[in-house]
Amino acid sequence: MRRVAIVGAGMTRFVRRAQETGKELAWEAASKALESCEMTLDDIDCVVIGTAPEAFDGVHMKAEYLSDGAGAWRKPMLRGYVGGGTGVFSPLQGWYHIASGLFDTCLVVCEEKMSSCQPHPQGAFLTIFDNMTERQLEPNLLWIFALEMNAYMNRYGLSKRDIAQVSVKNKRNAALHPAALLGDAEITVEDVLASETLAWPVQRLDVSPVTDGAVALVLSSDTVARRTTDKPVWIEGVGWNLDTAYWTNRDLSYPTYVEEAARMAYKMAGITEPRKQINIAEPYDPFDYKELHHLEGLMLFDKGKAPEATALGITQRDGDLPVCPSGGLLGVGNPIAAAGLMKVAELFWQLRGEAGARQVPGRPRRGVAQAWGDLMQVGTVIVAGI
């Protein structure tokens, strides 16, 4: 397989309700990514488009609908769709387009416009519950997260305070992200604990916001990378894995599917001791407990120990293992597919030393990004390094 590099990245601001259409958001991100590596669409061999439920936009074949804005006109195009895991799955698909030798360059565009769906985009999510045995109970999407969070807290004897620290860290990190929707340099654990209870143990500030936005990356082969930039960021490993859709039969306190995906990616990247060999992590954090859950699945901390590491400051931007230095979904925002790709873009900027005020110290050399989705059962992982 050929080596594949990330050579360019761009994004829109993440906003609550964009004036732009989805196509226009896709164009904004794609054009910024091309501009960042001084390429034009003529340099692009193929396009991967990532976008989550069609029901958000109420349009059929959503990637095809977005395609003109995403630069796919008269090009081979593929849509990667694994729900919330899409943002890390799409660059992974771009990776095998190039690694296989089929293409030399790939534009990866992830877009989400959640604000169109009325009265609330949660409505579009309700079909994740089983149509025959669960939907009749009139469930609420928050239930799944609340049930999982409570199982995690109970298993390891964690308090709400242990978990709220994640939200505080990420929203503070996001205060320095120029595209962030919910950055807040002043937020405290008390603010999170005092926020409105939605579905206990989930409170308002434990959750990432409904967001519109798009992110794009340019991937290339080794040869093209070397003539495009003196700072290519290599995709060193990829992995993905799916658990059962019978979610009530799973161990809700540990994401085994994330561990399996991470093992696949680490093996490819030659990582035998992830805690020593990974310098930055961008785990998927739509809810604060999910960052902890995923850090454990990524084997960066022992089971049940990620909260303690967070309390010790290990996961702060200047800690031993900076986690979500971008500000994550909790701070930058959560336009589903775009949010996952934002994490890979953050690794790109951090590893190139271009993260500006958010730059983690110590010249990080390798990072991992991860997302989670499908019927709450898929783990998607990318390891990137310089």
């Binding site: 601001r13 904004e28 949660q122």
Partner: protein
């Protein structure tokens, strides 16, 4: 150069813009209705609910008894072997106290969704249902609960034939 140059200055609308009619919008009400076939496994599951019973399927290869029942074992990837009648009791694996509806309307009394591991099925085989006849602050993980059924004549072959589970 930092990444700031690669962020597009996306324009956004405020609630005020919308409230004051400065945003043009168009609406669409989807008309999509479905009539689902139950399949064999869920068909029997719903039939047994109507009769006031919970039922699972056993796989002789991995020796699991699963609920909801399925005609194939996703682990062994072979047909499951037999029907197994289960108890209508179980253990709360996890729960939530939910104070909002799906579209973010407030509830004064919380709904209590839970995953309940069903007695007679293999360890960890839970189903989602509601808890009732219990004070919110008294619900605990590990609590033993029993199904409260609708009267036989009102049951329709639906998961709601169980009203909720209550502690015992």
């Amino acid at each position: 150069m930092t990444m700031e140059a690669h962020v597009y200055p996306t324009v956004y609308l405020s609630q005020k813009d919308i409230d004051e009619g400065r945003a043009l919008t168009t609406r669409w009400e989807p008309n999509a209705r479905y009539a689902w076939d139950t399949g064999v496994a869920i068909g029997r599951y719903l039939e047994e609910l109507k009769a006031g019973r919970l039922i699972g399927r056993r796989c002789d290869a991995c020796r699991r008894t699963v609920i909801p029942p399925r005609m194939f074992c996703e682990v062994c990837f072979r047909p499951t072997d037999d029907w197994v009648l289960l108890q209508d009791t179980g253990t709360v694996k996890t729960f939530s106290l939910c104070y909002v509806t799906w579209n973010m309307k407030r509830l004064t009394e919380p709904e209590i969704p839970a995953v309940i591991d069903i007695d007679g099925a293999s360890k960890g085989m839970g189903i989602m249902h509601m808890l009732g006849e219990v004070k919110p602050d008294e619900v605990k993980i590990g609590m033993r609960v029993r199904a409260v059924w609708k009267p036989a004549e009102e049951r329709q072959g639906d998961i709601t034939d169980i009203l909720y589970f209550k502690p015992f």
